[in-house]
């Protein structure tokens, strides 16, 4: 392996020091780690598994109008849809019908912009989990109107609902996410490269009580230019910098130091591993930031062995979904970007022979109002999510399709749809596949026991 950054210390010295420091480590940040230990070829240990699995979260920032991803195709239901959605309705002729394995209350199709996702669905590589959202407990419209305390806190607010999706802990200010807690449960130590890898920056989902995701860009990990200890002319500077890092009493200084240490130790590991990634033959769509991120995910999944990771959780994101205006133009474009990125990624994963081992899923702040404000929609509640991969039972709609009629029992008002599946159920089904026991599921999702999990298995 090529050593890419910082000082080239003999491995023995590293192991001795790191073992000595493990006892004192209280967080993934690795207090006590040496900045110049570039060859920290250690990932968080996950010895309980002998297979490989990865979860990929695609977060759609702003609140996807996902109710417009599944549109009625039969005349009667289409009329209801058209009446409610007005200028934001897709034309009946343009829809791409889907044929789920299970019977549905009404036939639906996808917008033409989703043709790539539509093929995945028909090939059983994709499924839709319908009308899902943040809930405190199963909720009827009558209950929702009668007792506001039963609603999730700060319903309809972007960041609070994002946090609910990502933390599955709505009651208290959430400091950790369900993927972060899950990772801490399944790993034996918090030293080295985390299970949680983000291509879209810091996020609550992957934050644990004592761990942050390791974050890199779609272009891969960065290298220190002025603190590269493998270059002779840097060595005095790097040595002095190491001494500075050992002298940080201030709490925020420690926090900053931890980021630098994580960068120094993990980047070398990832860079070395990525050198062994095989270039894909799959053509990813151009000018598609989500596709770029997912391509890096596929690369990182392909070298999980070199990284020493039996489990990986990835986070990617795409913004622009807060379509208060200009929705008729912008939303189909977003759906197309999403669909094409997912399609290329799945092809890449298939190419790597990891179809059964990598499961991709979407999350988004909320669904949007069925009613329009003239040229857009406002913050709603329940919505649909996509799940993808060889392990899932694809070509299926999970959950219950809501009524699209205004004033129905599903409608809290203005077409804000009350979810019939909770975030907890959705995420727990994914986590169970990932390898959590029932006990562990209840530890990660404190509200899970309020919901029925018996009939919810996407796999």
């Amino acid at each position: 392996m090529k050593h890419n950054t910082l000082v080239n210390l003999p491995r023995r010295s590293f192991l001795q020091k790191s073992l000595a420091s493990i006892a004192g480590i209280t967080s993934a940040s690795g207090v006590g780690l040496n900045f110049s230990l570039a060859n920290a070829a250690l990932a968080n240990s996950t010895t309980r598994f002998d297979d490989y699995k990865a979860l990929v979260c695609v977060f759609l920032y702003g609140g996807n109008d996902s109710l417009n991803m599944l549109v009625p195709t039969d005349d009667y239901e289409y009329q209801i849809y058209q009446q409610v959605r007005q200028g934001l309705a897709y034309s009946q002729e343009s829809l791409l019908p889907i044929n789920p394995n299970s019977p549905q209350p009404y036939a639906v199709g996808m917008p033409a912009a989703m043709s790539a996702a539509h093929s995945l669905f028909q090939q059983s590589k994709l499924a839709v989990v319908t009308n899902t959202g943040p809930l405190m407990q199963p909720l009827t419209k009558a209950q929702a109107i009668q007792d506001r305390a039963l609603l999730p806190p700060q319903l309809f607010s972007h960041n609070d609902q994002q946090n609910h999706w990502q933390s599955a802990k709505p009651q208290n200010p959430a400091f950790s996410g369900w993927a972060g807690r899950m990772a801490e449960l399944i790993t034996d130590t918090q030293v080295g490269l985390p299970v949680n890898l983000s291509i879209d920056g810091i996020n609550l989902l992957q934050t644990g009580a004592n761990s942050s995701p390791f974050s890199l860009n779609s272009g891969g990990p960065e290298q220190f230019a002025g603190l590269d200890g493998t270059k002779d002319w840097n060595s005095q500077r790097v040595a002095a910098f190491q001494k500075l890092l050992n002298n940080t009493p201030h709490l925020l200084e420690q926090g900053f130091k931890n980021v630098l240490l994580s960068a120094a130790t993990n980047n070398a590991l990832i860079s070395a591993a990525l050198e062994q990634a095989v270039a894909t033959q799959i053509q990813y769509p151009a000018n598609n930031s989500l596709a770029e991120q997912l391509k890096m995910v596929a690369n990182l999944a392909s070298v999980h062995e070199q990284l020493g990771q039996q489990r990986q959780i990835f986070y990617v994101g795409l913004g622009g979904w807060d379509t208060h205006d200009n929705q008729a133009t912008s939303h189909p474009r977003l759906l197309q970007s999403l669909s094409e990125a997912l399609s290329a990624f799945q092809a890449n994963i298939d190419e790597l022979g990891l179809s059964e081992q990598v499961t991709t899923f979407t999350m988004s702040d909320f669904g949007r109002t069925l009613t329009s404000n003239g040229d857009g929609t406002d913050h709603g509640w329940g919505g649909h999510q996509l799940i993808m991969g060889g392990a899932i039972n694809g070509r299926e709609l999970y959950g219950t399709m809501p009524s699209l009629e205004l004033g129905s029992d599903d409608d809290l008002g203005d077409g804000r749809i009350i979810p019939t599946l909770s975030v907890d159920q959705y995420a727990a089904s994914l986590s169970r596949w990932f390898g959590l026991s029932e006990t562990e599921l209840n530890a990660v999702f404190p509200n899970l026991s309020r919901f029925d999990m018996s009939n919810l298995d996407f796999f």
């Binding site: 002025g226 603190l227 926090g255 857009g376």
Partner: protein, 587 residues
């Protein structure tokens, strides 16, 4: 440690350090002026007869009697105080600005700054455009260049710094459908700068009516309900103006802490029906000059500079229920509804703590004490002459507060904030007199290095949340550290690399007319005086906060590199300091 000596010492300094900081200052009416390599004097481990031992200041209370203090004794402390203020109130201390603060004193410097005219981004772009040939077009790079120009060279540092803070609260972003509206975005920034010391209520109205905000949060073109078309008003601006620009989601005490009800639960400031009330208020507004007939012809009316204008026919004239159950009567004009609705927000008890605390966080410290927030909030509510919302008074209150001046002494391990990465760059370039052969700062993509660029946040929720707390000890201690939200491994490295490119490798001209060059000549002059050089860097970069241990580490390395070029040796020190956790936390 040095500051421990000042009050306790009556004896003269034992050792003098010559440091080439130019300044002039006044003390006790006696004007002294140095205009050469002046003498900065401070005490080193004075074994003084009056109990002011440097390392033992707690053994005896310091003697507070200062008899005709030697100007030079006081000067070192005053420079460090000045640098601390300039970390909080400017885009980074420079020799010249430290000199000015020392000359005027903290309060008078603030007063002087507040009187200075605005350095306008729009004016800069207009000027720049006048030099363009016909095929040249304004670009994003030019807008960012205008920001560098004003933050690096503008005399109105405090105004620009507060504008930058406001741009992270009243967020619009080029990440939207108006990416190419460079002048409009610059004009919005100017608007924030113009009102930085004005009244919050006026600022709120100007922000609300800005066509840029109108486009960003879709109030522009927002129509009254229409049952035939089955539409209702857009709730975007109504929601965010309350959640992010004024009162937040839950009721606050004056000191910024969250109120709880009998059951111990937080109390929501509004619900969905309140949002709908405001959404109805904010109907009927469109580009300046729009009429009922031209309502849909945005391409005819497009105007990214002048305030939006109401078209009464598109305004909902029903009653509207606002905060605290205030009801606006039916049949009011769009303008009157707007005035009363903004008054309704402005009078909410949350505004003072909500805005004051965020401004403190942006300028001074991530975790202000409740008392500090309460003191500033009180100024927000009454500036001393009965006026509410005086932002100038609020800013002055923040910077004059004892916690801003002495928090680093009283809470040495928690006071302060992680420096915003882009403000590290302005600091480097101000402290070391950056210049370019083109006389322009053509660094058009700071977001590559810092995940930040002016008015370029990913969403209205800014680059980071004021309540963000990284996991581990910071969270466990109940602290927040917002800037950590963009401090990923990736960007920590890129920020470090910015200092490699600029400090290590751009202190000599390379022939590129667009190169931004840092000038270490003043520091090079001290290269063989390690202590003096480090003290100069200590003041310029760390407001005197360099610990003895840190100084020792740097000194050792500096002495090991005697064979290298002097400028390289200086660059190494600057690079190390500005990459260090110790510097990265502004204290």
């Amino acid at each position: 440690m040095l500051s421990d000596n000042f009050l306790g010492s009556r004896v003269g300094p034992e050792k003098q350090y010559e440091v080439s900081l130019y300044f002039e200052y006044q003390l006790g009416g006696e004007s002294t002026m140095y205009r050469h390599t002046i003498v900065i004097v401070f005490l080193m481990l004075v074994a003084s007869s009056c109990g002011g031992g440097a390392n033992n200041s707690s053994s005896e209370p310091p003697d507070l009697v200062i008899e005709a203090p030697t100007p030079t004794v006081d000067l070192d402390a005053r420079m460090k105080d000045a640098a601390r203020l300039l970390n909080q109130a400017s885009f980074g201390p420079s020799e010249e600005s430290i000199e000015k603060v020392v000359e005027l004193g903290r309060e008078q410097w603030i007063d002087w700054q507040m009187e200075l005219p605005l350095s306008s981004q729009v004016d800069y772009l207009t000027e720049l455009q006048s030099t363009f040939s016909t095929e040249d077009e304004l670009s994003r790079m030019h807008r960012i260049e205008a920001w560098w120009q004003n933050t690096l060279r503008g005399e109105d540092q405090l105004r620009q710094r507060v504008a930058f803070a406001l741009s992270e609260i009243f967020v619009i972003s080029e990440n939207s459908n108006f990416f190419e509206e460079y002048v409009g975005i610059a004009n919005y920034y100017d608007l924030l700068a113009k009102h930085a010391f004005g009244n919050y209520r006026e600022l709120l109205e100007e922000v609300t009516l800005s066509p840029m905000m109108g486009m960003y949060l879709s109030m522009l073109g927002n129509e009254k309900p229409n049952s035939e078309r089955n539409i209702r008003p857009d709730e975007n601006y109504a929601r965010e103006v309350m959640q992010l620009f004024s009162i937040g989601l839950v009721e606050l005490n004056l000191d910024g802490t969250v109120k709880v009800d009998e059951a111990g639960s937080h109390i929501s400031t509004y619900d969905q029906s309140t949002i709908e009330g405001f959404a109805h208020v904010f109907t009927g507004w469109n580009f300046n000059g729009t009429t009922e007939q031209t309502w849909w012809h945005w391409w005819d009316n497009y105007d990214a500079l002048n305030p939006m204008q109401a078209v009464q026919a598109r305004h909902d004239i029903g009653t509207k229920t606002l905060l605290n159950d205030v009801i606006l009567p039916a049949n009011q004009s769009a303008e009157l509804d707007l005035t009363q609705a903004l008054d309704n927000i402005f009078m909410h008890d949350n505004v003072a703590p909500f805005i004051s605390k965020q401004l403190i966080q942006r300028l001074v410290t991530s975790n202000p004490s409740a008392e500090y927030v309460a003191r500033v909030s009180a100024i927000f509510n009454d500036n001393g002459i009965g006026q509410r919302g005086d932002l100038g008074a609020v800013v002055k209150g923040i910077l004059m507060d004892d916690e801003a001046q002495n928090g680093h002494v009283k809470h040495p391990n928690v006071f302060g904030k992680l420096r915003e990465p882009i403000l590290k760059a302005t600091h480097l370039w101000r402290a070391f007199r950056a210049y370019s052969p083109s006389d322009r700062f053509q660094q058009g993509y700071p977001d590559y290095f810092f995940k930040q660029a002016p008015l370029a946040a990913p969403s209205v929720f800014n680059f980071f949340s004021p309540s963000f707390s990284p996991p581990g000890v910071i969270t466990e201690q109940g602290l927040v550290a917002p800037e950590f939200q963009i401090t990923t491994e990736n960007y920590a490295i890129r920020t470090s690399n910015f200092f490699a490119y600029s400090a290590l490798w751009s202190h000599l001209p390379n022939g590129d007319s667009e190169q931004v060059i840092v000038d270490f000549s003043e520091e090079v002059a001290l290269v063989n005086e390690t202590d003096d050089l480090l003290e100069r860097l200590n003041i310029l970069l760390m407001a005197g906060g360099m610990t003895a241990e840190m100084r020792e580490i740097l000194s050792e390395m500096h002495n090991e590199t005697v064979n290298a070029q002097p400028a390289e040796r200086v660059a190494d020190l600057v690079f190390l300091i500005m990459n260090s956790p110790q510097y990265s936390v502004q204290k």
